[in-house]
């Protein structure tokens, strides 16, 4: 029974991290129609930038996170503007470009920081302990930040002109352009927002777990599953799907073991996809 509660709590804290991670991925697809294979790499970059800011510049952790995340955002902005924008309509081309960028970023980090994972600690340690369960404070912080981020993104998308413009672009690029919305100006920003979210996740999560150059791929796979489940481009869908994946992962690996648990998770996702081809909350508008 205790195990059951503990697993639930683990699932929720996993979900919080996944939600933050998948948010950027689903935004990027919904608005730009780009499957961003570099999403995992940006997660790793966020972690290493923060690490560098803390251990090289000696910044306090929160400041380091902000610096790192902004740098990653700038990187994303430039990448979209210079490399992606010219071929933004062709989803195969953008897919390959982000894939190439993933390889480049990963190697760059390997060269700069070396293969060994560095010593990188989350400043807050300790945990709330209860009857048969425990919640590390760090997890609570991530939960809070992820909730804030999701809320913020939702507000931006629905309450600001920037957001409305982006949604217009997502619905029908041609029409939006005809109404005087300029993709060339907005897309790099949107991409930057998405990378910021990926980097933020990395900056918060890697110090709690581990920081290594090759984390990108598994992170990418998780993002894929979540957006498939939630329906590409749907913010609410991605959020809920993230928690579904987190909780399923927790229970399946607690009761089936890591390997079979993962297998179960994959198969559940596939089955849901067959039953609901657009994912749990996929809208008919978004996506190209």
């Amino acid at each position: 029974m205790n195990g059951f509660i503990a697993a639930g709590i683990i699932g929720i804290s996993l979900g919080a991290q996944y939600a933050l991670l998948a948010l950027g991925f689903t935004l990027m697809f919904g608005i730009l129609g780009v499957i961003n294979f570099a999403h995992g790499a940006f997660y790793v970059v966020g972690g290493y930038f923060t690490y560098a800011a803390v251990s090289w510049l000696g910044l306090p952790f929160p400041a380091a996170v902000i610096v790192a995340v902004l740098l990653a955002g700038a990187l994303g902005y430039v990448f979209e503007l210079v490399v992606l924008e010219p071929v933004i309509q062709d989803y195969l081309a953008t897919l390959m470009l982000t894939l190439g960028f993933h390889l480049i970023l990963t190697t760059a980090i390997l060269v700069i920081f070396g293969p060994e994972s560095p010593h990188f600690e989350f400043p807050v340690s300790g945990a709330i302990r209860g009857e048969g369960f425990y919640i590390p404070y760090a997890n609570l912080i991530v939960l809070a930040i992820s909730a804030l981020a999701i809320g913020a993104i939702y507000l931006i998308m629905h309450r600001t002109d920037f957001g409305r413009a982006l949604r217009a672009l997502a619905d029908d690029r041609a029409v939006a352009a005809a109404q005087g919305i300029h993709p060339r100006r907005l897309f790099p920003l949107a991409f930057a927002v998405a990378t910021v979210l990926a980097a933020l996740t990395g900056a918060l999560v890697t110090p709690m777990l581990a920081l290594a150059p090759n984390l990108g791929e598994s992170v990418l796979t998780t993002s894929f599953m979540i957006v498939i489940l939630g329906g590409l481009g749907s913010i609410g869908g991605a959020t809920i799907a993230a928690f579904v994946v987190g909780i399923v992962e927790a229970y399946s690996s607690v009761y089936l073991g890591g390997s079979q648990g993962a297998l179960a998770l994959f198969i559940i996702v596939l089955v849901i996809l067959v039953v609901r081809p657009r994912g749990l909350f996929g809208s008919e508008f978004v996506g190209h």
């Binding site: 029409v175 005809a178 809208s283 008919e284 508008f285």
Partner: protein
């Protein structure tokens, strides 16, 4: 199967009947309980301001988007919810507003594909022979369609729908983006279809002149409702219709 006998007298199943259909996107309702009939062999115009759901109407009729509720009949047959390719094989075919050809294929390949996919025989070439002449496409049969001027690409798009020898032909803003002088080409195709295969035709269009020229009967859509129906001249003079158009920007919905 759509290789229809060239009889001049359309059969009953060439009629398109729309029975109180509704379409919602998430919260937003594009039209509600919409009903109308396109009589066999007739031409009907559908006009309305942007956001009136005109293109969406065609998309749901042709099975590209699922209906929220309601029924669609092709003659006696209930075709609600059938996939586009099945509807097309049954003779319900549409044209598209933009990107309406196979860009990298030559004009000839485009037409051959349309005939092949629809199962209309190679004799179809004779059917459109004079149109190809009129559009000056004959000389350009081996040009990549993407390299044609916009006007001709548009006409090629219409031809692709035409060579399937449809029973019911739906044209989605056939004149949009055409120069005034080019718009006669649309008339020519519609007339041609009437004379040679006598199919029923539904035209969505912003160009009132073209509608007046071609359509004995029109309906006006606004906010998903039929605002008015009847002969163009009286319908277009009714107050409500004029209001509906006041201050609306004029681009695609």
């Amino acid at each position: 199967m759509t290789a229809v006998a060239e009889d001049r007298f359309p059969r009953a199943d060439w009629e398109l009947r729309i029975e109180n259909i509704s379409k919602n996107f998430g919260g937003l309702q594009l039209f509600r309980d919409l009903s109308f009939v396109l009589d066999a062999g007739n031409i009907m115009g559908v006009i309305g301001p942007n956001g009136a759901g005109k293109t969406t109407l065609i998309n749901v009729i042709c099975g590209q988007l699922p209906l929220s509720s309601g029924k669609i009949y092709l003659g006696k047959r209930d075709v609600t919810g059938l996939p586009p390719h099945t509807l097309s094989r049954l003779g319900l075919v549409r044209s598209f507003q933009q990107t309406n050809t196979f860009k990298l294929a030559t004009v000839r390949e485009n037409l051959m594909r349309a005939m092949r996919f629809a199962g209309s025989g190679p004799d179809t070439w004779n059917l459109i022979d004079d149109l190809l002449d009129a559009y000056e496409l004959k000389a350009r049969l081996d040009e990549v369609s993407d390299s044609l001027p916009y006007g001709l690409q548009k006409m090629l798009g219409l031809l692709l729908a035409y060579v399937t020898k449809p029973k019911v032909l739906l044209l989605d803003e056939p004149a949009a983006g055409l120069e005034q002088r080019e718009r006669g080409n649309v008339d020519r195709l519609v007339m041609h279809a009437q004379e040679n295969i006598g199919c029923s035709i539904l035209i969505i269009e912003h160009d009132m002149e073209l509608i007046r020229r071609l359509c004995p009967h029109i309906i006006v859509l606004d906010a998903g409702n039929v605002l008015a129906a009847g002969a163009p001249d009286e319908v277009l003079s009714t107050r409500s219709v004029i209001d509906a158009y006041v201050g609306r920007s004029d681009d695609d919905d």
